[in-house]
Subunit: 114 residues, 2 copies
Amino acid sequence: MEARRDVFQAIADPTRRQIIDMVARESLNLNTIAEQFTMSRQAISLHIKILTECGLVTIRQEGRERICAAKLDKLNEISEWVAQYRKHFEAKFDSLERYLTKLQKDKKNAAKRK
Amino acid sequence: MEARRDVFQAIADPTRRQIIDMVARESLNLNTIAEQFTMSRQAISLHIKILTECGLVTIRQEGRERICAAKLDKLNEISEWVAQYRKHFEAKFDSLERYLTKLQKDKKNAAKRK
DNA sequence: TATATTTGCAAGTAAATACTTGCATAATAT
DNA sequence: ATATTATGCAAGTATTTACTTGCAAATATA
């Protein structure tokens, strides 16, 4: 159980995405996270290990507890990768683009009225 | 070799990301894609099958050839999932945000000068 | 028609993945 | 001090993944 360990792979697993979701809201210790799942604590521990190894989660020891916190900077890799294909799925980006266009139009209009 | 077949899993594999990259630029037939890799045609064929199964690639038969085209709408699932954690990796979004802020400031200034 | 090309299907393999259970250890709480 | 809690580590298993090689079928080309 070793090998590739990149962000793309890390978020491929639904359990790991759920874990990310949990710790993104609030830092939690390992057992609290594990309790939310039906699978064993060990399994969750391993998922968290994977998440820390690729830098999406950080752990700080606090007494006997290990507090897991989200550190999702690396998700940039994902969004940047996706962004390059923007033209292939413009539809959903429309709202943002419309917003930008509107802002620029407003700016122009404001300038005109000046 | 069956099971989960979602976009997150599809893009987890670097070979598949490469394939996406190739067909996003230009639709290509299966063999042409396979030739770019050292691994066997069958392996590539399977990767492409996975990509079509989750809707990221479409195939049209043309004589004996199968032309693979990118259809990356589903990447939205990814970008939407990532977007919800935006606050966790603001840094890189900074440029866009700065841009938006600047636009709004310009707009305000323009209005003031009016 | 004989031959090339483009591909699918099937069977088989090696490695990785996603788990499990059992046991050990350190920190806290009683 | 003893029990409880939070965790790690190790070994083992089932399933999935990522491939391979070999063969068959359909289309195009000489």
